[in-house]
Symmetry: C2
């Protein structure tokens, strides 16, 4: 989210609360999407904070980002695998048409 070439009027400006702090998030995404993202981050921070009560909020937030990027990379591998599967199936279909 952030600058994306849309005019200001096309952007949503939403204030959300994450782990006791307020953040104003600007983006072209819907308010619902932004609120969902904020809720996921808030819940992740709460969960990691519960397991590691001695962590500073700062380290907690970084570890939350680490966790999210870790899951993102795993999901990206899944996307690549699915894209290959789609390609293979499309080729199989095409070869059947030729038969």
């Amino acid at each position: 989210m952030g600058a994306n070439g849309l005019s200001e009027s096309e952007k949503n400006r939403i204030t959300v609360e994450i782990y006791g702090q307020q953040y104003t998030i600007v983006g072209q995404e819907s308010s619902d999407h932004i609120r969902e993202v904020a809720m996921v981050v808030h819940n992740k921070m709460k969960e990691i904070g519960k397991r590691n009560p001695s962590l500073s909020t700062n380290k907690l937030a970084v570890l939350t980002a680490v966790n999210a990027v870790h899951e993102y990379i795993l999901l990206k591998e899944k996307v690549e695998q699915l894209e290959n599967q789609v390609k293979e199936l499309e080729q199989q279909l095409k070869s059947r048409e030729v038969d």
Copy 2:
């Protein structure tokens, strides 16, 4: 990452530096994966910090997590769309076999 039922000997314990702070990350993932994740988080924090130089490290880390979760949710939608595409193609292939 974190507790996952593996014995300690099967876990990797890696110390990485993110935005000037050291973090010890424990997980079943390879050291390479953990280092890649740390590097992505570090670079994201640097990028967001450059655009918003007045942000505290704390808020910067939370916004980095927001950014990562946002991208994760977009990717998840892509996974669902690809999974549907695979299902559809498999059905098309199956119906050709019946013909």
